[in-house]
Point group: D3
Chain length 225, copies 6
């Protein structure tokens, strides 16, 4: 493993310039404003895409940027969400999918999953997305179906986020917003979904679309309004 | 969320220089050699510490760099491990703990966990580490206990990795090694554990200690030897 | 148990008039158009409120009209949903809460749950609703908080419905709509929630508000639009 | 959905006559004496069959009138049972199966279950009944096997009821009895099982057979007798 | 560990006399007729109490001689039951409780369970027995309550056995009987429960009481009888 | 069941000679020093092989001498381990596999598992052992593969033991050692594995090999050493 060379380079070439930052982070603790949930894919580096410095991004990564619903106790993703919301009080959660995602492509080659039973079970959390694509886009070429699945998958994970009690409460207080992103590896483009379910390319010229803005889920009777 | 500025900077300043790399990664797919399992902590950026380029590091991050044992079906970490080993055939898995870890410190302030039930359940996977520290280091100052816990926690997660069938098989074939690391935020130092359970600072001058080298777990009867 | 008198009355006084209907239902099988998920409360009788004849309403009842998210395998509610959508192809699902709900009131008297461990676990599926109410309506009198909780609970169960693959697919095909109702025991009033999260009294003069109309969850990129 | 017409009819034609009853139920709360666990089937309306008024019957309905054993935490049926026994102190629990049950028929057409994974898992709670029928009635015509399965299924769910701690305790105190029923859609007949395992048609002329009478499960040594 | 002396004694003093038996068992495989489920307690040795030779008794032992209901997938006891019934076709299953059982006594000293979370969860399978004792024998001295609990616990585990599909099927075929025993450590007495729930001392002079004889659980309608 | 004869023989011929021992054990309680986890196989009698008297061996037996990892709450084996370590403070745990094990052989005839779903799930805890054998010994004759699997299975269960918090803590305190054994039915030989993974025949002339001696799992940084 030549990773040892990388660590050496980090220590001699990179760390010295960031010494002060790391010292401060060690002493004051972390205060990230954003939780990013992205894929474990080696080509999708959250800190690179968002140009975040150490200390800025709380990051949970797994195969398929999946968020199981809250009821699944003992889960690593739900724990990261809970920690980010309750202990760190982040103001934004981004679920970031990406092009050519191996986890999403596995739905179209299910035989490969026979040797990966855990991955197969894990992908059950994306199944509603796949069922939507299968029943609505079955006529499209497969690469378009894969992209549709990646987008739908971001959508369903945003749904799952909202059934986490800590998330629901913070959103209702107007202190937390949810974002759904798509990263295109080849073009470097980032698209963000709005409340209407359409993904728009993110650009410095326009405000960032927000999937589910803070303060949205209060239901009430008309007479109480 | 001013993250939109970061994305813009990435697109105008950074991506153009890496365009060719991303194009190649989009077309050829990813071929990382290493899976890194690290904490979601914003101060621990795997690609930075190892100076890895996009495409080099498959990354799973969660609160406490935990690997639940295989039997827990439906898990995100086990799925990432399985995907890395079976689909990507990585040659190395690194479990990377770090100083000042909020997840590990939660063991010493359990009342804070009352509002984070998922985190509490999740940390059960680190409980053997905490029990060891409690019974052996109870007399030490708390910061030393925390550091001991971070190290023990890396150890127990390496144990959990070995009960994953895909990991056990690849190790027995001599094709996969396991590493346990500790990243010190303040000094930027990386320490790696050897088979003897001692963590040594990683340095370009010495070979990297390996926690569990490939080809280790074959048991046999003396007469068959 | 004097219920035997009721059965006798049914057989001598009621059944003879509906004999033909029951014969037809026995021979042709059931073809209900609606699944109603309501509370087990003895005061909330779905067929009475909707004046439905035998054969018209597929009914799932449990304490608190709860729908656990899909990922909880082995569940009775998810099975009823799946059977209604896949095998019976219902066009509408109604989640019906009600005033003075004992399950919802249990959140405000948690000590009573100590002797009902299963109920306590079950109510975890309503916890996001309670957290929203606690953080936003904590200043209101308790009866108003209870009513807010009943409404929020309907909302969160509608969210859970949408993570069922069969539901997501049928909705995306434009063949299934979701409804959220509130039944007021004292006044007999039924209120239905619209997409804006406001509950309006149902009246024969106005169209029925629909919580999540069919064909809503397709996400797409702007360029594909 | 023309259900809105039904609600209007309920409000204008039915509710006014029951206004006093509903007012009383709203103010005094519910005090049902019986929990009925029946199928979600639209043709089996518990309140109709037993001619129960609002407030008389606590009702849990799911596909196949199934009661998972107590150990399955988080379950809707077990919660309804627990609430009925502990909070409402009902004196009788009826498990009511019925003819032409789609859930039971699914055992004879298992391929249909491939698209209903949750139903498939759910029916595992009826598997002992199916195994009994398969091994003892395999030679009978299928409709007789289906009826035998419905009866056996009622039996196994009565068994499951008895492993609920709250049920076991109340029965041992002589305050709770268990009933097993079969409703025949075509004839409107209700049959009830006795301790001998035989189902007899319920009739106003005879006492109601009781499957497991209160005060039955106390074991003791002969010398202590 | 001086157990090595015991192994040596076995090899030099005991094995030579049973050499032929072991050779036959190694070549023909095992054909036990009975599955015994007993406590892990060191004072309760099934082969000693029943004077069984190697090859005669298939033995499952755990704390409290517990049989979780079938629905708990992945369980060691259910697997032993299934293997004994399906693969070995045993004709009898004995659940054997005993006096002074530490697992049962833990119900009366629950604070000790705080350091044994797994034991605590495990004992949930005996909770119906404890609830029965608590509500019916609360006035008795504690040692009598403990004995009552041991007996009730045997009873509830016999109930659990019957919800295993393989057990239910074999019993309905008349090929499998269930037994409930109590072993008194001090007197060496064995008591067996009959269908009436009374435990009688086992004696060579009387037939062995059978808790649930083969061929018992077939339900049927009177007209089909 | 002629087991009644055995009980009679125990009471008339055997118990009288051990009366004093049993009286003492009843009054003082049990104080076993060793937990043995072995297979339910009728040919493997732990007390016989180790020549242990009543009171000396705490015994957990299940199909395949399996120890699920700690995280699987509600488990019988983990409970026995926890009880032995915490309540009884045993100093040694032996995992004992054996030749011709039906559970291990099932891996080579998986179609037989179709009728034993619980056994199939249970054996998932041995899957890493099977994957190792499959990938490393696939070229050997099947009986050698079976024996390799039995040995590897002992190894993986020793791994699982170490993730139990109570075990990890006691080992780190130097008060608990782990042993892995193999019992050969035909020859009566017992082999024990050492830290190097080789099984040696146990003999009174040599010290007993110990798989994982007490006080082994403390990790530390070099500077702290
Ligand atoms: Zn991906
Ligand atoms: Zn951390
Ligand atoms: Zn209610
Ligand atoms: Zn039915
Ligand atoms: Zn015991
Ligand atoms: Zn075996």
């Amino acid at each position: 493993m030549d990773i040892i060379g990388g660590v050496s380079r980090f220590q001699s070439n990179v760390f010295p310039d960031q010494k002060e930052l790391f010292r401060k982070l060690a002493q004051d603790g972390q205060r990230p404003r954003t939780l990013m949930i992205s894929c474990a894919d080696s080509r999708v580096v959250p800190e690179l895409i968002t140009q975040s410095a150490p200390g800025e991004l709380f990051v949970c990564r797994n195969a398929g940027n999946i968020v199981p619903p809250f009821a699944m106790k003992n889960g690593g993703v739900s724990s990261a969400v809970e920690y980010a919301v309750v202990a760190l009080a982040v103001s934004d959660i981004v679920v970031c999918g990406h092009s050519d995602c191996g986890a999403m492509k596995a739905f179209f080659a299910p035989e490969a999953l026979e040797t990966m039973p855990n991955v197969k079970s894990w992908l059950a959390h994306s199944e509603p997305a796949f069922e939507v694509v299968k029943s609505c886009c079955g006529h499209l070429p497969q690469d378009q179906q894969v992209e549709a699945l990646v987008l739908e998958n971001v959508s369903i994970q945003l749904l799952h986020l909202q059934n986490h009690p800590s998330v629901a409460a913070r959103m209702a207080q107007g202190k937390l917003s949810l974002h759904g992103w798509f990263f295109d590896i080849e073009s470097g483009e980032v698209r963000a979904v709005g409340p209407d379910g359409v993904f728009h390319a993110v650009s410095g010229d326009r405000p960032l679309p927000v999937a589910v803005p803070a303060s949205r889920r209060i239901m009430r009777s008309a007479e109480a309004a």
